[in-house]
């Protein structure tokens, strides 16, 4: 551990140097998120100059509605990635939950929207629990486990659906209205996404168990020795990711109205891209929920800016891939800078 907490018993380290180093570290990290915001702003400006209708009310509304689902997924993914794990099964969990809730509403149209949301959340949490149990007790890399459950959950969806599709006319109108309506002109999907971002962001920033997730991601062994229940926290992170993917499934169903077993296929790549582009290091231990949310917004904006800019839609996936590579490369540079900065701090303390 390079950042041992300053103990009260030892000789007091020079506080000013500490603060200076900390602000330097903070500056680099903030610069990372600022970069994403600037990239987003630049993209919006350029696209709006090419076609001013990009900034019309309807266009912005479509954009944020599409982003809301990815944002919810990205928040869950960020929680998992910060603990130095990964959850590749989110796209499949989304599809499964969307189909489950769709079937429920088809069978019982009177079910209120809140119950549908809770059912999706619970359904996803169970999927996440399975992932978490396998990772915690199987002692195997999360990547392999969730690559496996990606296909298992998707396959279960195909078994269940058996080729049938749930169409919008089979869903209760109240539920479909929920996908587009809102309060005071702000759609419900966006309110939900914002609440998720705020709650998770504050929790990870402020609460002790939230900070412990960072400690685990920085150095799992040190976290264990520091008395953090690493296994339990890992399990919880996967349950959160699964639950949010389940919630996203309900939002997906409400937004699109048409659900089949392939809903959300391949979405895990976009979500992982959003998270790492948003500054959550794949090595764990750093990054913020806000960053992940902005990353998701950036990715969605790229998706809707491409046709406006006259670029072939087929480029989108290639851009996602290139952004992942760019982001992890940037993280490497940032990590090297922070390490150098911390080394400087240590040398100050010694002198």
């Amino acid at each position: 551990m390079t950042t041992a907490p300053p103990t009260s018993t030892g000789p007091a380290p020079s506080v000013e140097h500490d603060k200076a180093a900390e602000s330097r570290v903070g500056l680099i990290l903030r610069a990372r998120e600022l970069g994403i915001v600037l990239a987003l702003a630049a993209l919006v400006v350029v696209t709006a100059v090419v076609n001013p209708r990009f900034l019309s009310g309807q266009s912005i509304r479509d954009l944020v509605l599409a982003a809301a689902i990815i944002v919810v997924l990205a928040v869950g993914q960020a929680v998992v990635v910060i603990t130095r794990n990964i959850d590749l099964s989110v796209g499949s969990v989304l599809g499964l939950s969307a189909f489950a809730v769709g079937s429920l509403l088809q069978a019982a149209p009177g079910v209120p929207v809140v119950v549908a949301l809770l059912v999706g959340l619970a359904f996803g949490a169970v999927c996440g629990l399975v992932n978490g149990v396998l990772v915690r007790f199987g002692n195997v890399p999360a990547l392999v486990v969730t690559l496996g459950t990606l296909y298992v959950y998707r396959g279960i969806g195909f078994f269940w659906a058996g080729g049938q599709q749930i169409n919008a006319d089979k869903l209760p109108p109240g539920f479909l209205a929920f996908g587009t309506a809102g309060v005071l002109g702000v759609p419900w999907l966006i309110i939900i996404a914002l609440v998720v971002v705020l709650v998770a962001g504050l929790y990870l920033r402020t609460y002790r168990s939230g900070r412990e997730l960072y400690a685990m991601g920085s150095n799992p062994e040190a976290a264990r020795l520091a008395g953090i229940p690493v296994g339990r926290r890992t399990l919880a992170a996967f349950v959160v990711s699964g639950a949010l993917a389940g919630l996203a499934g309900v939002l997906f169903a409400a937004r699109f109205g048409t659900i089949d077993a392939s809903a959300g296929t391949g979405m895990e790549l976009n979500v992982v891209a959003a998270v790492v582009v948003g500054g959550v290091a794949v090595f764990g231990g750093s990054g913020t929920i806000w960053g992940a949310a902005i990353g998701a917004l950036l990715l969605t904006t790229i998706g809707s800016a491409l046709p406006v800019l006259g670029i072939d839609q087929f480029w989108q996936q290639a851009i996602v891939g290139a952004l992942i590579l760019l982001a992890i490369g940037t993280d490497r540079v940032v990590a090297a800078r922070i390490a150098a900065s911390l080394r400087r701090r240590e040398s100050h303390v010694v002198s």
Binding site: P5, V144, G148, V152, F158, E212, V272, G321, I324, I338
Partner: protein, 354 residues
């Protein structure tokens, strides 16, 4: 390997090892399926099985070497797709197939070199890099070919892939498969180079200090992986006589599953090539039998996913219980070095160290 220890315990260990068990399960499965699944044991089905096996087994060969060194390459299926798309575009452009095939394989080597550069030169985790290139290469495949399909490849070449040796019913494709399998087995298990791969996987730092050029070795493994994946793409395109950007989507799962099922440790340093070949055979014959029993392709992914999970879980659980057994058998263990003098959690968990 070099010194065959024939003590009974060692022999028992050998017989109960994971790869031996997989070979046993494979034989058992083939026997049962031959009796219970209609048409499974026909020569016609055998050639289908080999055609299904070919891309998975081909890509599993370099993947084994990569996973033995403790890395991974998730971009193989996308490399296959991009090679297939480029092949289609070039064939459409009127180039002769004799030029197209080497160019595609070369392209695969370049794509692999890109992976290798990110992993070795920039020192990034292979998992993240190859998730990125998984998206990038598949995306480029769509850029090249869109959602079109290019068909009508020369019959002389498609027949070569789907054909059989004379009247024997043995698919022609089995020959390059066996040859490449032997080459990789010899490289991994007989040559000093192969031993150095295990050394890297066991402890890369130690391997580097003992004179292994770790980064160079890893780089070339990715190049080979890319080239072989592109070759698999060429074979795939010729087999279905259809070049599409989405060819082989999701196949990386089957490849990784086959390798891990074959007893290669996901943490590196352990595994055998015959185990992997048995794993690939078991996976494809299981899928083949289920398909004959009218299980849909999408639902089959449950089986592949489960096999993947089981094959990473089982060795860990087995070694855990083995360790527990050993602990119980030895009632008087040496006292632990330091039984954690300070179990109390530190008041301020340190965060954000790098």
């Amino acid at each position: 390997m070099s010194s065959p220890d024939l003590s009974p315990r060692r022999l028992l260990g050998r017989l109960t090892s994971w790869d031996a068990a997989i070979i046993g399960v494979l034989i058992l499965f083939v026997i049962i399926a031959s009796f219970t699944v209609d048409n499974f044991a026909s020569s016609r089905n055998f050639s289908f099985l080999v055609l299904d096996l070919a891309p998975i087994a081909l890509m599993a060969l370099p993947m084994t070497l990569i996973i033995v060194t403790g890395e991974i390459d998730l971009s193989v299926a996308s490399t296959l797709g991009l090679a297939s798309a480029v092949m289609g575009a070039m064939w459409e452009g009127g180039l002769p197939i004799e030029t197209i095939i080497p160019v595609c394989v070369l392209l695969g080597a370049v794509l692999g070199a890109v992976n290798g550069t990110f992993v070795t030169v920039f020192g990034l985790p292979s998992l993240a890099v190859t998730i990125g290139t998984l998206a990038l290469y598949r995306g480029l495949a769509f850029v090249v070919l869109g959602d079109r399909a290019v068909a009508e490849f020369p019959a002389s070449y498609t027949d070569l892939v789907t054909g059989r040796i004379g009247d024997t019913g043995i698919p022609l494709l089995l020959i390059p498969l066996v040859v490449l399998g032997l080459v990789f087995a010899v490289v991994l298990h007989v040559t000093p180079f192969g031993r150095s791969l295990f050394a890297i996987g066991a402890n890369a730092e130690a391997a580097r200090f003992s004179g292994t050029r770790v980064t160079r070795v890893k780089f070339w493994l990715y190049v080979v992986s890319g080239a072989v994946a592109a070759l698999a793409g060429v074979l795939w395109t010729l087999r279905y006589s259809s070049a599409r950007a989405d060819n082989g989507t999701g196949l990386e799962l089957a490849v990784v599953a086959a390798v891990l099922l074959g007893g290669v440790s996901i943490f590196g340093g352990r595994g055998t090539l015959w185990g992997v070949i048995a794993g690939a055979l078991l996976l494809t014959s299981l899928q083949n039998a289920l398909r004959l029993a009218d299980v849909s392709n999408e639902a089959l992914s449950v089986v592949t996913g489960l096999l993947l999970i089981v094959s990473v879980l089982a060795p860990n659980l087995a070694s855990n219980s083995h360790a527990a057994l050993r602990r119980r058998r030895r009632p008087d263990p040496p006292p632990p070095a330091s039984p954690n003098p300070d179990p109390a959690p530190s008041p301020t968990p340190a965060v954000r160290s790098s």
